[in-house]
Amino acid sequence: METMPTVDEHAPVARLTGIRNCFGSDCVHEGLDLDIPAGQIIALVGGSGSGKTVLLRTLSMLREPDAGRLELFGVDATQFGERRRIALRRRVGLLFQGGALFTALTVLENVMLPIREHTTIRGKWLTDLAMSKVVLAGLPADSADKYPAELSGGMVKRAALARALALDPDLLILDEPTSGLDPIAAARFDELIRELTDSLGLTVIQATHDLDSIWRGSDVVAFLARKRVLAMAPATELAGRDDPELQAYFQGARSWEYAKLHGVANSSTA
């Protein structure tokens, strides 16, 4: 399990090709292609109902796509049975929108669960290791013995992050990580993700509506529209493009302020 940046910088961590996801006769993805470059933070954006969560569920192997191919770390995950997928799942950390912490377990036990399940680590070292993730995720040490019901919204997200980081994943998938957080907490969360990405050699893909996360917290933005990834580039570049849907998204009243902040407005109005 290599986790340090020995990963080939140019090989994508994950590659989706020709993905189709349908609910009955209603397709949210059709011929969707997406490469996730290593070591970057990718923001997955798009209007409500554009299939961000479905795409993340496909990527984390929770949902079998109706057609298409999912490659994770260079192997074709769609060909695998559930047993072999477990090995891949260990390398993917997932943070659910609502946290999805196990309510019957304390924060520390939540983090210990995946480590205990997938390694032979026991006893004090297990506690220490899990504790280090709790603190790493920015939680105070005394919150480790609390139950999820006793945590605030922001702390739930951090606890869920600690659990997602438990096995040192190579790919971290975040579904709306800053939704429901106040702007300060959201900014701190973005900083934390950035810091972890830099030091742990993570690759991050996050579905988000948060303009701060899109403009400041991400390296690349993947824009989901018309059932596929319409464009993928840094936010400043996307905001300057001519495509009407991109313009509508990035030049909506609030987003436009950010665009101006980043000097996009001048170039595109010309």
Binding site: M1, T3, M4, T103, S132, Y147, L167, D168, L200
Partner: protein, 392 residues
């Protein structure tokens, strides 16, 4: 003693390695190599303890003020970094200046990140409660439980009493829906179990009575037992397990998903909307189900009496009105609305008291069924004493 002695953290030799040495200027020099990750670390890393032992036997470097960390780690994840970060932290704690500059930038960054956020080594032990405190807590818990039940009964009486004066405000649609769920859909299980219990009673009665040639008395035994006790009690227990538990689970889940609070916020009383319809529905349904159970129980007895003990259907049903009358039936039925109130109240109260997690819903459902069944049997016993005193 060689200046360069390695502290291997694993026995295989190609695992994580730490070689402490005395540097050229007398400083402590730690050379890390090999893979420092979860897959290669031993299940209880003791590098720090071994380093302490090594330092104890090398006093010439043990008291230095400087330390350098160097090496080429073939792999480093956050677990390995945690071990190294703790070693560095320990050295700094002893007053050394630790220099990590010789490490590759990425690995240094990771070690720094973990060193900056080290959790306290010793976690405070959860305080154990003594047996006296546990008894006290359990007692107070029971008192609170009793108090909560009384408060719940009080609130229901207030709201229920008010609504009785304005019956058009009762949510009859909900009542009808609850009647279907608790009554109509329970017919199968109640009927089948009553039939079987009727058969069992007839078998047991017949086995003894036939020895004396008193087969005909099977009718007396089965009829009186069914109408006065088995019908009402069995039905109440089935309903407590089937409907009471579903009330708790439904309301408990609605508490956790904040649906109850949402109702309040919209200006709808959860009592009026959710609880009262359940209580009313169960008070209507339980007597009806009991009558149904009585009929099936008598039938079950009749079948066994006819095919096993030579008491034909004609004789059985001919004799039935002679041994039981309307009073027998009513003495059984009069208990059922009380059972219904107890089952619905306990089910709803336990549901409304759920707080916190999915686990709490499961626990509340168990408590609800246990309490409801317990109270149903206790109340049945009280009724028996009461009826006996009254001469029935």
């Amino acid at each position: 003693m060689p200046a360069n002695e390695s502290i291997t953290a694993s026995d295989t030799g190609n695992g994580p390695m730490l070689e402490p040495a005395r540097g050229s200027e007398g400083e402590l020099c730690l050379h890390f190599s090999g893979p420092w990750d979860l897959a290669h670390l031993p299940s209880e890393p003791d590098a720090e303890a071994r380093l302490a032992t090594w330092l104890a036997s090398h006093p010439e470097v043990a008291n230095g003020r400087q330390a350098t960390v160097e090496g080429a780690l073939s792999a480093l994840d956050s677990a390995g970094a945690l071990v190294i970060a703790r070693i560095v932290d320990g050295l700094e704690h002893d007053g050394r200046q630790v220099n990590l500059d010789a490490l590759p930038a990425g690995q240094r960054k990771l070690i720094d990140l973990l060193k900056g956020r080290l959790a306290p080594r010793e976690r405070p032990k959860p305080r154990r409660t003594g047996w006296l405190a546990m008894i006290g807590r359990a007692t107070v818990g029971k008192l609170i439980e009793t108090n909560a039940f009384l408060a719940f009964v009080g609130e229901l009486s207030m709201q229920g009493g008010r609504l009785l004066l304005m019956p058009w405000r009762v949510r009859w649609r909900e009542v009808v829906a609850e009647i279907e769920a608790a009554g109509l859909r329970a017919l199968g299980i109640v009927g089948l179990l009553s039939f079987l219990i009727g058969m069992v009673m007839a078998y047991q009665a017949g086995a003894t009575l036939s020895d004396y040639g008193a087969n005909i008395l099977i009718v007396n035994l089965v009829a009186i037992l069914t109408l006065r006790e088995m019908g009402p009690l069995l039905t109440a227990i089935i309903v407590a397990g089937r409907t009471g538990s579903s009330y708790t689970a439904q309301l408990g889940t609605m508490r956790i998903t904040e649906e109850i609070d949402a109702l309040r916020a919209i200006g709808i009383s959860p009592f009026e909307m959710l609880i009262l319809p359940k209580v009313i529905a169960l008070m209507i349904v339980l007597p009806l189900l009991t009558v149904f159970a009585n009929i099936l129980g008598l039938l079950g007895g009749a079948v066994v009496a006819a095919y096993r003990f030579e008491v034909s259907f004609a004789v059985y049903f001919d004799r039935l009105p002679e041994v039981v009358n309307l009073t027998t039936l009513l003495l059984g039925l009069v208990k059922t609305p009380v059972f219904a109130i107890v089952i619905a109240l306990i089910g709803c109260m336990q549901g409304m008291r759920v707080a916190g997690s999915a686990l709490a819903v499961g626990r509340a459902t168990t408590v609800s069924v246990v309490q409801a069944t317990f109270l149903v049997i206790v109340i049945d016993a009280l009724f028996s004493v009461l009826f006996n005193l009254m001469g029935y």
